[in-house]
Amino acid sequence: MLRHCTLICLATVLLLSAGGTARGQKWGDLKGRFVLDGTAPPPVELDVNKDQEVCGKEKMFSEELVVGDGNGLANVFIYVVLERNQKIAIHPDYEAVAKEERVLDNVNCHFVPHAQTVWLRQTLLLKNSDPVAHNSKIDPLGDTPTNPLIPAGGQVPWQFKKSQGLPQTVTCSIHGWMKAWVLPLDHPYAAVSGPDGSFEIKNVPVGEHTFQLWHERSGYLMGAAQQKDGKLVLSVKPKTAATKVTKKSSQVKLKIAEGVNDVGQEIKVSLSYFEGR
């Protein structure tokens, strides 16, 4: 009798756990803040040689290295990397996100936002809020390219079909200084650090995931994970002349627990990543 009950209980538990990821799956948030370890070099002024009445209203500076309040390092991409044919559970809240449009706007002759991620299920809306015409040239690796001329006030929806390993550039031919970065992924677990260096990815499935860190000026940032006092801490290893920063060697495995995973509000990124070219 007892053996039967145990067997039935065991079977029920197994069935329940094998049945649905949604029911048994737990979720956690990932957040943190990147800071630059050192003083940022002065920003480089851009040569605005076209449409000065619209574009030259204020001085424009290169957004290759943007450091905000409290030395916060902006525009760092942090995203989950999946193996070939590996799937990841999607939180039901993201169904609404899938219907949202991501916008890449031309404002005062620069792209807003400078860096973003796009889920393949979302549409990227290329907008032009300027009184002058722009074009948005995107040539994603292995995916359909486009280069539409967008008149003032116009917009063009664009659909990426392929997930990328690295952010892709968007440029304007008419205004050569304009550049933005877009990373199309086949999942929504990605973020770009804001002006103060902070980022947040909500509702990541609990478990270990491989994350990639990338910044346009430095390329891959070498992440390292540690457990400090039972908490997960993310750090960025400094780069030396002998270090071969490759895609695999810079990936970091983070074990996401249920609830909020604050991996550090002062994740120092060494200045060595941004020296030289």
């Binding site: 040239k137 967008i150 008149p151």
Partner: protein, 466 residues
């Protein structure tokens, strides 16, 4: 001259002459033999100068760490020590310096051997898929005609009196290179550089922006050449030879795209490539599909300019003038924004920082000393001077329509027409107006020219020409 022993002198002279002749012959033979030793069957040159620099023949395990690499690791460790602020840590690093150095060099050597191993895999995969320049081969999935490719491939020779081989090497290789990389021996003297087929990007075609050119497009380029560039017209070649060359261009392009995709997969994504038929076909499939479906993406205007349909000459002229005026306003207007690059008078002088896709990322500042090793230095691309009357993609109104409608793939020219997912910036009627305006630009401002002068006796004597 002293008439002494003439016979003796002659004998000595002959002796010297014979010896000199013998030495000359020996030297020539040696030179020829040495030269022949350097001849070998041509190989495809690997893509991606920035990723792959050597073509190794040795076994990966034969590679050793070089002195320079060891020194680099040492410098890296020293720099790490310099950066470290904590004195305890510095002591630790000093103590473990030797071990760290060994570990570092081991890692570098392992990466090097891995890279060489991957290169060998890449080479094997490409030979399996496409063969060699002398012995080409195609999978049936590629959709290519191997007979035509064999006609174009191989050394230039005549197999029998009527069939020729090696057409590509006879006509194309000196500019376009053996791999179709646009970096043949004469390429460096040209502006613009010859097309690099390996990216699969062709500028002048009848299809939509991202689509491949059709066979007819490539044949047209071969037959008519590209005015304003060094690409000559091969009109005098028989049609079957031109078609063979078209097929070979497609073959090189497909090979290049597959090579690029595989190289990225191996070296940038750092994956392992399994050498099985299904994996190889997976890499081939996308490129092959884009080529075979090119004909479905031909841009066909749904309308014609109004003045084309008109029959009355006065009406025709009036409609044409109206269209040109409309086109002029659009050209200078904010919607089409042509003047932003092509200049207020269409001279192509409003933008000087443009590059086509092949040259865009070749910033010599970024690459430093490496830029000096490039076969082809970076070349700027100027917006077309529309007053010359030289149109690289063709001078028909239809060709100009297509350039504006789709833009130019491989260059910065944006497209103003619709395509899946986006509405048009300019309607077809507006594009025709701009086309009419552009076609009138080289002749703008011409005063009425009298008919050609008939030669009179006087003009003949004075030697003046019509």
């Amino acid at each position: 001259m002293c008439p002494s022993d003439a016979g003796e002198r002659r004998r000595v002279a002959l002796e010297g002459r014979r010896r000199r002749a013998a030495t000359c012959c020996a030297l020539l033979w040696l030179a020829a033999a040495a030269g022949c030793g350097g001849l070998s069957a041509p190989q495809f040159r690997l893509n991606m100068e920035d990723i792959i620099r050597e073509t190794p023949d040795k076994d990966p395990d034969e590679f050793r760490i070089t002195g320079r690499e060891r020194e680099q690791v040492r410098q890296g460790l020293l720099e790490e020590m310099r950066r470290e602020k904590d004195p305890q840590k510095i002591e630790q690093l000093e103590a473990n310096f030797g071990a760290a150095l060994d570990a570092g060099t081991e890692e570098v050597l392992k990466l090097k051997r891995d890279k060489i191993k991957k290169l060998k895999i890449l080479n094997t995969a490409l030979v399996a898929l496409f063969g060699t320049p002398d012995e080409p081969y195609v999978f049936p999935e590629s959709g290519l005609d191997i007979k035509k490719i064999r006609l174009a491939a191989g050394p230039a020779q005549t197999v029998n009196s009527n069939v020729r081989r090696g057409l590509y090497r006879q006509h194309c290789v000196h500019c376009h290179g053996i791999s179709g990389d646009g970096a043949g021996p004469t390429a460096v003297f040209l502006n613009p550089y010859p097309r690099d087929y390996r990216q699969g990007k062709f500028k002048f075609k009848s299809t939509e922006f991202a689509a491949k050119p059709t066979d007819a497009d490539l044949l047209h380029t071969l037959t008519e050449g590209i005015p304003g560039t060094a690409m000559p017209s091969f009109k005098l070649l028989p049609l079957d030879e031109r078609e063979a060359l078209v097929e070979y261009v497609k073959y090189l392009s497909m090979r290049g795209e597959v090579e690029l995709a595989m190289a990225r997969y191996l070296f940038v994504d750092e994956e392992d490539l399994e050498l099985s038929r299904s994996t190889l076909v997976e890499f081939l499939a996308e490129s092959a599909e884009s080529w075979s479906s090119a004909a479905e993406h031909v841009v066909r205007p749904q309308t014609q300019p109004a003045h084309v349909a008109a029959t009355d000459p006065a009406e025709k002229a009036r409609l044409l003038a109206e269209s040109i005026e409309r086109g002029r306003k659009l050209f200078a207007g904010e919607k089409a924004a042509c003047v932003k690059c092509h200049g207020p008078t269409g001279l192509g002088d409003s933008e000087d920082k443009l590059y086509d896709d092949w040259n865009k990322d070749k910033d010599p500042e970024k690459f430093g000393a490496e830029a000096a090793t490039w076969v082809l230095p970076r070349q700027q691309l100027r917006p077309r001077n529309l007053r010359l009357g030289i149109y690289r993609g063709g001078r028909r109104p239809l060709d100009l329509f297509r350039r504006i409608y789709t833009g130019i793939y491989g260059g910065p020219m944006p497209g103003a027409g619709p395509s899946p997912g986006r509405e048009a910036t300019l309607s077809e009627e507006e594009i025709w107006s701009v086309v009419d305006y552009i076609r009138s630009l080289p002749y703008e401002g011409q005063v009425a020219v009298p008919p050609p002068r008939q030669l009179t006796q006087r003009s003949r004597q004075s030697g003046s020409l019509p």
